[in-house]
């Protein structure tokens, strides 16, 4: 197990290098540079800026230098704010992670709850309601949901604030959480329902019932464990998605997170931040897939690495 995890961690290095290479190429293929303004800067100023940020060197050398610095965990300097990229990303990461975690917890509680409710009342009224919510939810991506929520709860009912994010302040947290959480909730509830139904039809569950166990014990102790595997797969990927932030929810509610930062950095050609964010995203994804794979082995003893 340890050697498997170590090998996977080692494999992340070539992955990051490939990602850096692709982003580097694409980034420099975008027309215009970071210091192109409507009124051209004086050539001397342009020259000094280029030198200051190392943009006067040949591309290959810039690329080599970036990789060299990256190996020392140095992400360079942001052109837009003249601060270390690591600080910029760290600062922007906080609201994204808070929002992601809240939305994820919301999605897991509601989604798994709804799915379980559906599965236990197969073809009943609760099942119908659960499947209905899951289906409608999966057709309501955040960019539709966010403005509709704002119209209903902010403009008409005046219940919440529209803009910004403040952890612990439910006026600012509720709407972004719902907007970001409904889609993963819908997915989780579909998966939970299917997985639980599959398990509940198996022989060992009939045995458990025949032994006279209470329904609660049958579901919680016997069925839920085996239903966990597909749920876990989806939840892990959804968690990675939540952590990397929703570009759309951040944009819709003006939350200063990394999704918004990435779009801004592309628009002003802030090379340092673009590259830094790509590396961050890649690492989060790679780590999450690894965590999911490890959790498999924990949940299902048949899986060994």
């Amino acid at each position: 197990m340890t050697s498997y995890v170590l090998r996977r961690v080692m494999l992340m290095a070539p992955l990051v290098v490939t990602m850096v290479t692709i982003t580097f190429l694409l980034m420099h293929a975008i027309e215009g540079g970071p210091f192109d303004t409507d009124r051209p800067l004086p050539p001397a100023t342009q020259q000094r800026l280029q030198e200051r940020y190392g943009l006067d060197k040949p591309l290959l050398q810039q690329y080599g230098l970036y990789l060299f610095r990256l190996a020392q965990f140095d992400l360079g300097i942001s052109f837009a704010s003249d601060r270390p990229v690591r600080d910029v990303i760290g600062e922007r990461m906080l609201p994204t992670v808070q929002l992601g975690l809240t939305a994820f917890v919301f999605a897991v509680i509601c989604g798994v709850g709804l799915g379980t409710l559906s599965a236990l009342n197969q073809n009943g009224a609760w099942d119908f309601a659960g499947v209905f919510i899951a289906t409608v939810g999966s057709a309501l991506p955040s960019f539709i949901l966010a403005p509709l929520l704002v119209i209903a709860f902010v403009l008409r009912l005046h219940w919440f604030d529209v803009l910004g994010w403040e952890f612990g302040n439910y006026h600012k947290m509720t709407l972004p959480t719902i907007a970001a959480g409904v889609l993963p909730m819908a997915f989780l509830s579909r998966i939970t329902r299917a997985a639980l139904l599959d398990v509940l039809n198996q022989d060992y569950i009939r045995t458990a019932r025949a032994k006279g166990l209470s329904e609660f014990r049958v579901v919680v102790r016997h069925a839920s464990r085996n239903a966990m595997i597909p749920i876990l797969t989806v939840a892990g990927l959804l968690f990675a998605h939540s952590l990397t932030g929703s570009f759309i929810v951040e944009q819709a509610f003006a939350i200063p997170g990394i999704g918004k930062e990435f779009i801004d950095s592309v628009l002003v050609r802030d090379y340092g931040v673009m590259m830094g964010l790509t590396v961050t995203y890649t690492l989060i994804y790679a780590l999450m897939t690894l965590v999911v794979d490890v959790l498999y082995a924990v949940v299902d003893p048949r899986i060994r690495y």
Binding site: L15, T18, M19, I22, T23, L26, M27, A29, I30, E31, T135, V136, S138, A139, L140, P141, S142, F143, I144, P147, L148, V150, I151, L155, L183, F187, R190, I191, A194, A195, L197, D198, P230, T233, V234, L237, L238, H241, T244, S246, F247, I248, Q251, A252, F262, I263, V266, L277, T278, Y281, T282, Y285, A286
Partner: protein, 338 residues
């Protein structure tokens, strides 16, 4: 079969004479799925109306770009609520929302279907190459698909879009469309989306081909002397195609969704054009004065997504009824465009 009890003799005799082929059977199963049929009908209506909207004046009675601050009687014509003249109301410049919606729906559908066409072409050919080509080809293609899975889609789409923007490459061009009827704004979005999304279909086709390769009837065909091309065309492709059809049905709304997300974060198609996403993102600025501007396109996108989902579910069950239960346990890996 619901028809069986209604008219048994007819069904029986037709069965004796000729058993319907697998496609006909699938078609019958699809038709017995009410939700899928309704969705299919709604989608057809939406497509036909939006196509007619760009050609006739019956469904589209106003020019989507025509601004009218006052109407014929001189009263204010901006931000009107739905009425007999403007079916869905007007926006802040007095433009008819129904006309703009038709234009935008047509554009969004073209993006969804156009991108899916490119994705299918790329995905199937690369998937076949991986499945049938040598081991080295396979390894390279699998490596590329793995990379594409590790790279967040929307990051890549944004980067590719920015790279292509304002370029004068052979078919793109900034000015008049170089391919008649295909403006560069459309082409650019289609390319950006399909460069990222062909991976799913490629994996699907590769997996199918690999699993079919060892099947006895394929071996038998080869032993009987069928050429590799004939084996592929007659014996393998028909069996590999049904998951691809399902993937296409789910792919089209995903492309529409991807474009709408781009538009929503301000990277949509430029003004003379309008997609459902760009209508929403324009409308967001006027949320307080006229919320209908957002509500209509939001409903349209939700409608499209729902219908494609139902149709896709129906197709999946119709095309492969046997593995229905297995599939349900593993529905939908995580959504890809977020």
């Amino acid at each position: 079969m619901p028809n069986e009890s209604a008219c048994p003799s007819a069904i029986d005799s037709s069965r004796i004479m000729a058993t319907p082929g697998p496609l006909a059977q699938a078609w019958r199963r699809l038709n017995s799925n009410r939700l899928a049929v309704v969705s299919g009908v709604i989608l057809t209506v939406i497509a036909v109306v939006s196509i007619l909207g760009s050609t006739t004046s019956f469904v589209q009675r106003h020019d989507p770009a025509a601004q009218a601050y006052t109407d014929a009687t001189g009263t204010n014509n901006t931000d009107r609520s739905p009425n007999r003249v403007n079916w869905l109301g007007t926006d802040g410049l007095g433009r008819d929302i129904w006309a703009r919606m038709l234009q935008a729906t047509f554009f969004s559908l073209r993006i969804g279907i156009g991108a899916e066409a490119v994705i299918v072409a790329l995905g199937i050919s690369l998937g076949l190459l991986a499945g049938l080509g040598g081991q080295r080809t396979d390894r390279i293609i699998v490596w590329i698909t793995d990379l594409a899975f590790a790279f967040p889609d929307i990051l890549m789409i944004i980067l590719v879009r920015q790279v292509l923007l304002g370029r004068d490459w052979p078919i793109l061009g900034a000015g008049s469309p170089q391919i008649p009827g295909v403006p560069s704004a459309l082409l650019l979005t289609v390319i950006a989306i399909s460069i990222v999304s062909w991976v799913t279909i490629c994996r699907l086709v590769r997996g199918q081909i690999l699993s079919l390769h060892g099947q006895e009837y394929v071996l038998a065909a080869r032993a009987a002397g069928a050429s590799p091309w004939r084996t592929l065309r007659v014996h393998m492709l028909p069996n590999a195609i049904s998951p691809v059809i399902v993937a296409i049905t789910f792919g089209i709304p995903r492309n529409i969704f991807a474009e709408a997300s781009l538009a929503f974060i301000g990277l949509g198609v430029p003004p003379p054009f309008a997609s459902l996403g760009s209508l929403m993102s324009d409308g967001r600025a006027h949320l307080q004065t006229n919320s209908l501007l957002v509500i209509w396109p939001a409903l349209a996108v939700a409608m499209l997504m729902l219908c494609f989902t139902f149709l896709g579910d129906g197709l999946r069950d119709a095309l492969d009824p046997r593995s229905r239960r297995q599939r349900r346990a593993s529905i939908g890996l995580a959504p890809r465009h977020r």
